[in-house]
Amino acid sequence: MYQIIVLVKQVPDTRDITTKTMKEDGTVNRTALPAIFNPEDLNALEAALLIKEKYGAIVTVITMGPPSAAEILRESLYRGADKVILLTDRRFAGSDTLATSYILSMAIKRIEKFDIIFTGRQAIDGDTAQVGPQVAEKLNIPQITYMQEVLHLNKNEIKIKRLIDNGIEVLKSKLPVLITVNNTSNTPRFPSIKQMAKFKKAISNSELTKVSNTLKYLSPERYSEETLIQNRLLINEWNMEDINANPILCGISGSPTKVFKINYVTLETKETKEIPPNEKGIKTLIQELIKEHIV
């Protein structure tokens, strides 16, 4: 049985910014954007689940984020993940890619054995594509980026087709290896109704502390930690101590890069010539462009 880890991230949906999510001054209202499962991390999870179906595997999904990131772990369970772990700690906040990869690698070190780590090529909030290779470096294992397809897998090695600029490359690597997955690699499955019915009750440690005592008293079978663990419904939360991380290397103090300034992109209106949409208008435009040596 292969042990597979999938690293995922909850991100604000930056893909379809509409007027609803824009402030009056033309800037983005980040809080109005829905929090979603980073799209290419769904491709990474799918890659793991395909291996699980074909070869047999235990799939563990890990995310770092605020307690609300438990939502994407539930979504992972709906799709067929076996275990989920939420790395959450106020001291992780403000981490850049170096600190994030350190925290993730410390959590992975706590999991004794793994054969493959999958993660999405990049996250849509930052588009950096840095955390994958950095986790691989911290764990001192090889990395394969831009995976398109797993061609072959056995106990010792994996053969991967990957996309490079203007072409493809087929690579063979020893296990364990970290692999980043492209969005063209597969079509992520929908959550299974059956799994959803079961795992929508999955609850994280922080969420459990928010459940009122009355409710806990009234439904002990739903909210007792013991029963939750038994039914695989407890979403494990690990903090800095749990993963034995050095506080200096986490969060802001562990992040060499600082955001110094942010400028919002606003559309600058140019002086626009309106061209009548008829033969005469178009002819005049083309003649003007030719005269100005633009075409």
Binding site: V28, A136, K172, P256, I282
Partner: protein, 345 residues
């Protein structure tokens, strides 16, 4: 006093060094001149890994490098993340450059993060501009002189962030191909920098990933360097109509571009995608057909010198940044344009 150094990683293509490496040398020279004028002599250095490259260094000297560091070994013929990381990390630690720049290509974006992690320094991905500046934080009164300002779009292109690495140097960044302008190079053979051969470090454990097969085609689409781009968006309607875009491009000698939506719809190959997740273009003329102008798309083309927008929706965002707007159906307008252009003589 030791000279400061700016290092540019030189990326190999099948035949030559990558265009983005040349662009970075131009930008690197500009930064070196700026730093030298401010406090301390700064050298522009190329760092080049490969096999049999020693004899080909003159073009780098002609690109005004003060020093060219080379690591030349048969095992370094093809790019492989692990041995390339080992050799670069060792030499970055030894020479301690002030700034290290990589192209944001598939190679640069795979290599730079692994190096930054090993060196334990910051890294900013996909920069679209680099500047030198003095920074003072009002909150704790800390001031830094001559930092590299790493400027990049973030948040899906909705914001432009300026990132700095105040303490843990080197300051490292990857830079988008096509955004830095090429400086004039010296006449062939006249560049007089120093060539320094570094000792390769070849460790067996760095070769546990094997290349079984590699198929790389010549780049068919040259959007980045195109002077005129005709682009189609979702408003084109279907694959059949997209031929109109290609027709217009062919007639006026333009390259074909597309939005992500058009690419995702399967109307055209991803190589043609312009925007935040595609390529950045800055042509003399950009003709946007059936493109509403999402911020992600605008991020890749708004520096075009002239923009013509053809759209049925007079309020589409693209109309605001266009120099010429044509409010109408592209299926009617484009044939008129072709006809008008053909009839020019």
């Amino acid at each position: 006093m030791n000279k400061k150094q700016i290092w540019v990683y030189i990326e190999n293509t099948n035949k030559d060094i990558a265009d983005v490496s040349k662009e970075l040398l131009s930008k690197g020279k500009e930064l070196a001149v700026r730093l030298s004028s401010s406090n301390q002599k700064t050298e522009l250095c190329a760092i080049w890994l490969g096999s049999g490259i020693k004899k080909n260094v003159q073009p780098l000297l002609d690109m005004r490098c003060d020093k060219v560091y080379i690591v030349d070994h048969p095992e370094l013929k093809d790019f492989k993340a692990l041995p390339y990381t080992t050799n670069l990390v060792e030499n970055i630690k030894k020479h301690n450059p002030y700034i290290v720049l990589f192209g944001a290509t598939s190679i640069g974006r795979e290599l730079a993060p692994r190096i930054a992690s090993a060196v334990r320094c910051g890294l900013t991905a996909d920069c679209t501009d680099l500047q030198i500046g003095d920074i003072e934080f009002k909150t704790n009164k800390q001031a830094y002189k001559d930092l590299l300002l790493q400027i990049r779009p973030a948040f899906g292109g909705n914001i432009i962030a300026t990132i700095i690495t105040p303490e843990m140097h080197p300051q490292m960044a990857t830079v988008r191909p096509g955004v830095m302008k090429n400086l004039e190079i010296l006449p062939t053979g006249t560049g007089k920098g120093e060539v320094i051969t570094l000792e390769p470090k070849i460790k067996q454990e760095d070769f546990i990933v094997e290349i079984i097969q590699k198929i790389q085609e010549e780049k068919k689409v040259n959007l980045i360097g195109a002077q005129i781009v005709v682009s189609g968006g979702i408003g084109v309607g279907n694959k059949e109509n997209f031929k109109l875009i290609k027709d217009l491009a062919q007639n006026i000698g333009a390259e074909v571009g597309a939005t992500r939506a058009a690419v995702d719809s399967g109307w055209i190959h991803k190589d043609h995608q312009v925007g935040q997740t595609g390529v950045t273009v800055r042509p003399r003329l950009y003709i946007a057909c059936g493109i509403s102008g999402s911020i992600q798309h605008l991020a890749g083309m708004q520096e075009s010198k002239q923009i013509i927008a053809i759209n049925k929706d007079p309020d589409a965002p693209i109309m605001k940044i266009a120099n010429y707007k044509i409010n109408g159906d592209l299926n009617r307008i484009i044939p008129m344009m072709i006809k008008a252009y053909k009839g020019k003589e």
